[in-house]
Amino acid sequence: MKTNMNNRLAYGLMSPMLIYLIAIMVLPFGWAVYLSFTNKVVGAPAVFTGLNNYIDLLQDSLFWKTVWNTLLFTAVAVIFKTVFGMVMALVLNENIVFRNVFRVLLFLPWTIPTIVSVFTWQWIYSDVGGVLNFLLLKAHLISEPVGWLATPALAMFSVILVNVWRGIPFMGIAILAGLQTLPKEMYEAAMLDGAGAVKRFIYMTLPSVKEVTVLAAVMTTIWTLNDFEIIWLLTRGGPSNGTQVVSTLSYTIGFLNLSLGKAIAIAVLTMPPLIMLINFVTKRSLSSND
């Protein structure tokens, strides 16, 4: 009897959240999946077309190019963010002069609104008065200004650079938090035993912050896979679709061509890897509390 009461109370307490989740997540998601099986365009009723959208996409070379670009963009960006984030955390963990000032400065890219940083980078990349071309010209590394956003390879490099610049602080702060928990005595003992800096890093630091680094890297991977603003504002997926990623393709098809069904099909196709990554993060982060 008491158990039933407790159950009812539990369901009662849970119900607002449950209703919220159904209304905000489950219903729109289910509807979205349904629309991806239709020829829905804005302003016209949806007609069920089965797997047509998915078949069209899988036969479209642009879609596969977009998938490749997304993977390349994500993989390269996450690797560099992790490496530089680690370096940043190690430096900021040392007892250096003006450490707090450096910490604030290095975290700035993460706090600046994307729109501001992207416009700043647009200026940096510009061939008229752009600081990057100016420095390279002064250093005689180039003979004339480079169009950083004008060829597919350079544009991809440029958007990755901006993403890495924005993402390093998150990795840095996450790893730094892990580093702060390591006891100093352990390092002092290792030093007395003759372990050099490299050995201490490989055998003590790295294993100690492995968990937090992996978690932060996976979270960054999820965000990078979904990145839209940096690419849209810098290149709109060009030139020649050289920086077209899944999010920009979906936006273009959904909003400019008004083909909602196909745009959602693209989004749905990106769901499985994202679900796996989210599952990984939640399992890892919640397992210790079970």
Partner: protein, 443 residues
């Protein structure tokens, strides 16, 4: 009924979520609520207006809308919105059946939404406006006419013209701007001096660049080619004339190297910046550049000459830009909306508004085009260009498929590829271009 409501609500939520997830620059502080006055039982008219370059024009529009509210005892909720934000807003509004009563539309969108059967026939309103204020320029009316009916009321026009640096041309031995595309190429080559960071042709092909979409069509048309149809169904893009135009553009970029190194990554502001910074000696643009330099750089203003588009073997073809006010079929206050549009294009107030934005915003009425402001040396080409406007779909009539070809930036993408890949020939590019356009027309 309930199902319909649920599906609409969920669709709107999805669109809103998609828009939020893909939120971009344009959402940051650009969209701005104008006025939402009063309450009570008065009807509320919702108006979506495109944000203008000149703040004074935005203020005039907002004040005029308020005045309409006062005069007609209605609430007017006017939102001044950046162009990039319109598509997500239109999409969400159509799906959730919460469309504004009056909305701005470029003529491409009028065609696109006419094709979706969501726009109100406003032929009666156009006739009323013309009888009260004089004739609307035929080329502008044509752009919003489908099966002899108008689906929007022209509000203002924008003309693309050739901007050239008089001083640089003179130094290079030229006394006049180019009259033909061949002269343009020759001058651009001679004006280019990479050592000084000066390039003759400020033409850009970044993805999404609408200037390039229009300019490329202008060149192709003047060579006798097309990227659409003659009869509305058979694509005639793959022709020797289109190939010749593609070769011409390729030569400017790859053979002569008369364009700045970053030009293939330019968005719509790319050529503006290149001209303002002195990097480009000649560009094609609407009146925004002239208005900016007149205000901020009088020296450059004096050095700037304005001329119509050069001519190709088949003559001069100026791609028209027409901006309009329209009413959705599902608008709640259609009669009030018509009254509002009529109020906004009343010639006495309209003349002040349009001239505030000169030469960027051009008048819809032929009689206003002969006002003194349009006779000024630098403004003349803008007003005169309107008569020679050609629209998407040429040589056929503008149609919804032509609008889709434009919106998908198929021309831009193909030319980007042509200019990026040395082994990609103009013949192959035009063949691919034609195939992609056919896909759209055959859907």
């Amino acid at each position: 009924m309930m199902n319909k409501w649920i599906s609409r609500s969920v669709s709107a939520a999805l669109l809103a979520a998609l828009a939020a997830g893909c939120s971009n620059a344009a959402n940051n502080g650009i969209g701005e609520a104008g006025s939402a006055s009063g309450s009570g039982s008065k009807p509320t008219l919702t108006v979506w207006m495109k944000k203008q370059l000149f703040e004074e024009q935005n203020s005039l529009i907002t004040e005029r809308a308020k005045q309409f509210g006062t005069d007609n005892d209605v609430n007017v909720n006017i939102e001044v919105i950046a162009y990039e934000d319109f598509y997500p807003k239109w999409s969400a509004a159509i799906e959730s059946n919460t469309v504004p009563d009056v909305s701005f539309f470029g003529y491409q969108e009028v065609g696109q939404f006419y094709g979706k059967n969501v726009l109100e026939d406003v032929s009666d309103l156009v006739a009323k406006v013309e009888s009260a204020n004089g004739d609307i320029q035929p080329s502008l009316k044509k752009a919003v006419t489908f099966q002899d009916k108008q689906y929007a009321v022209p509000f203002w026009t924008e003309s693309q013209v050739l901007y050239y640096r008089k001083d640089l041309l003179q130094n290079a031995g030229f006394t006049e701007p180019p009259k033909t595309w061949d002269e343009f190429r020759e001058m651009a080559k001679k004006l280019t001096d990479p050592g000084k960071g000066v390039y003759g042709a400020g033409i850009g092909y970044g993805r999404g660049n609408s200037d390039a979409e229009f300019l490329t069509r202008g060149i192709i048309w003047s060579f006798g080619g097309s990227v659409d149809t003659q009869d509305g169904t058979t694509v005639i893009a793959n022709s020797p004339e289109t190939v010749a135009a593609a070769k011409y553009i390729r030569d400017i970029f790859l053979t002569d190297k008369s364009t700045p190194p970053s030009a293939l990554g330019w968005d719509d502001s790319g050529n503006n910046k290149a001209y303002l910074s002195g990097q480009a000696a000649m560009i094609f643009n609407a009146g925004s550049v002239l208005a900016t330099i007149k205000k901020d750089n009088p020296d450059l203003y004096e050095k700037t000459g304005i001329a119509p588009f050069p001519a190709g073997p088949k003559g001069t073809f100026i791609p028209g830009i027409s901006n309009n006010l329209g009413i959705f079929k599902d608008a709640k206050n259609k009669e009030l909306a018509k009254k509002f549009i009529e109020y906004m294009v009343a010639a006495d107030w309209y003349k002040t508004w349009i001239e505030t934005g000169a030469p960027l915003t051009g008048p819809i009425y032929g009689k206003l085009a002969s006002e003194p402001v349009w006779q000024e040396e630098k403004n003349k080409a803008f007003a005169e260009s309107v008569k020679g406007f050609y629209f998407l779909g040429y040589p056929g009539e503008y149609n919804t498929k032509a609008g889709e070809v434009y919106n998908l930036r198929i021309v831009n993408d193909t030319f980007q590829k042509l200019l990026l890949e040395p082994n990609y020939t103009p013949e192959s590019a035009v063949k691919d271009l034609s195939a992609k356009i056919e896909e759209v027309y055959n859907k």
